[in-house]
């Protein structure tokens, strides 16, 4: 009892609650429009999906780290080389445990899946990703009141529902303000190139943010690409190891009607693996992104912190699962299946 009423504990609780309340009042965040397809960012006159840019960012991060780690290789490693060796040796050990002799063959694929997914997932948690981009006139049914910060525009938390969605740059009808109260700038945006923003009734500009970066795995194209590569390699190594015998798994004529049905199910499950691969990663990361958006929107201060921790963990686990499942499927594919009758 006395522990709970300890003045330090009470002060801490009050401080935390106060910060949450003050944060809600002082710095309300916009709830960005959540959409499944990647937003198209105009870069040098070309519209590019921001998830693809995010993937490139992850690539560059990895390549820079690789360069720095292997630039000055030493027999007695230190710093980044040590870290890189720790990661690679650890994962190579795991690959060897599962793949045995084929570790050297499969390791680059599995390691690259792990590293790319991990780095892409963790980049999502860096401030600025999802929140810095180009401010454009609303193309959907929702816009935000813009505030000018120096040469830049910032989205306020004041969302406005538009009567109808017009063409880009077309005439917009100002709608009723969903929320009142001037919000602090939460989502900084690059200066809109066109000054043709629609305005509210009292003359303030409306716009939406097209972020430069958005987590790769929130784009189905990314996860599906990985899943296709993974399963294609599984088929490739299966055929390489077993020759035409590999296909007896799918078209089973020896086992009678039952065997044939099992073969069909095997075939279907091979495609199901692609689906489960891509949607597992996509779903987890997309849900994490939405969770972070909502938490930042509801209570912008302190409350999102544990969810960031959670997403850090989810990002790691999903990368690991993708890599290790690929490895397991590979190991499974090179083993002949008709010898346990």
């Amino acid at each position: 009892m006395s522990r709970v009423l300890n003045p330090k504990v009470v002060a801490g609780v009050v401080l935390v609650l106060g910060a949450i309340v003050v944060g809600k009042l002082v710095a309300p965040a916009a709830l960005p429009g959540i959409q499944l397809p990647a937003e198209m960012v105009p870069i040098l006159g070309v519209r590019v999906p921001n998830t693809l840019l995010h993937t490139l960012l992850a690539d560059i991060t990895l390549l820079i780290l690789a360069f720095l780690a292997t630039r000055n290789m030493k027999e007695i490693p230190d710093g980044l080389q040590n870290f890189a060796e720790w990661v690679i040796e650890g994962f190579y050990g795991l690959t060897e445990d599962i793949a045995g002799d084929r570790a050297r063959q499969w390791f680059p694929l599995v390691m690259t899946i792990f590293l790319l997914v991990l780095v892409a997932n963790w980049w999502e948690l860096v401030p600025g990703v999802d929140s810095i981009g180009v401010v454009e006139p609303p193309h959907g049914s929702k816009g935000f009141v813009l505030a000018k910060v120096g040469p830049l525009y910032a989205l306020t938390a004041q969302g406005v529902k538009l009567e109808y969605a017009g063409e880009k740059g077309g005439e917009m009808m100002g709608g009723e303000a969903e929320k009142s109260g001037e919000g602090a700038a939460e989502e900084a945006g690059k200066e809109g190139k066109e000054e043709g923003f629609p305005t509210t009734e009292d003359g303030r500009p409306l716009g939406v943010l097209v972020p430069f970066l958005r987590a790769s795995a929130t784009d189905l194209n990314f996860t599906l690409a990985l899943a296709l590569i993974s399963m294609a390699m599984v088929q490739y190594y299966g055929i390489q190891a077993l020759g035409m015998g590999y296909f007896t798994k799918f078209i089973n004529l020896k086992g009678g009607a039952m065997g044939f049905v099992v073969g069909l199910i095997e075939t279907i499950s091979e495609f199901a693996k692609i689906i489960s691969f891509s949607f597992r990663l996509f779903g987890n990361i997309f849900a994490g992104q939405v969770l972070l958006f909502i938490m930042a929107f509801l209570l912008p201060w302190l409350v999102p912190v544990p969810f960031y921790g959670l997403e850090l963990f989810v990002g790691l686990i999903q990368a690991f699962i993708f890599a290790v499942l690929t490895l397991a499927f590979l190991a499974n594919a090179v083993v002949a299946h008709d010898d346990h009758h």
Binding site: Q35, L36, P37, A38, P49, T51, L52, T55, L56, D59, L62, L63, A66, F67, A69, T70, M73, E75, P77, Q81, A84, E85, I88, E89, Y92, R104, F107, P108, L109, M111, T112, L115, L116, S216, D219, L220, N221, F222, L224, A225, L226, L228, I229
Partner: protein
């Protein structure tokens, strides 16, 4: 699929991106690091083997040294033993010789003494007989025959011998 954001072009872009990344990482990350790990493993193995060899050598040389030492000690012992035996033998010989010489000397001395004594006794006897003959002649005044003299001397000597 469109609603999910599926787009064949972007999909292809992601696939190409992944393949390129895989090739680059394989070239610039996996290969150098795995090679380095292999190299280090090799180096450690060699070092351990060298250490083991050195240890073996040390053990061997230690053993050789100890063998050598033991041998030297044994030889020294033998030399001492031999020397002692020789000394002992020499001592015995010298002693025996000395004893023999002593014995010989004593024997010779005894012989000489006995001889001298006999000589002296004979001479004395002769002289005493002569002397007593002369004394008797002077006392008696006349010469006795040789035979009578001899009789008288013998008698006298016998008396002298008894009185002594």
């Amino acid at each position: 699929m469109e609603a999910l954001g599926f787009n064949a072009g972007f999909l292809l872009a992601q696939i190409v991106n992944f393949v390129v990344l895989l090739v680059l990482l394989r070239m610039f990350l996996y290969r150098p690091i795995l090679n380095m790990l292999e190299q280090r493993r090799e180096r450690i193995r060699e070092s351990l083997e060298a250490a083991e060899r050195a240890r073996q050598e040390v053990v061997q040389s230690q053993k050789a040294y100890e063998d050598e030492l033991a041998k030297a000690r044994r030889e020294a012992q033998q030399i001492i033993e031999r020397a002692r035996e020789a000394a002992e033998r020499q001592k015995e010989e010298i002693l025996a010789e000395a004893r023999e010489q002593a014995r010989q000397l004593i024997a010779r001395a005894e012989e000489e003494i006995a001889y001298e004594r006999q000589q002296a006794m004979a001479q004395l006897r002769e002289e005493v007989a002569q002397l007593s003959l002369e004394i008797a002649q002077k006392v008696i005044g006349h010469a006795l025959s040789e035979a009578e003299h001899r009789q008288l001397i013998r008698q006298f000597l016998a008396e002298v011998g008894e009185s002594r």
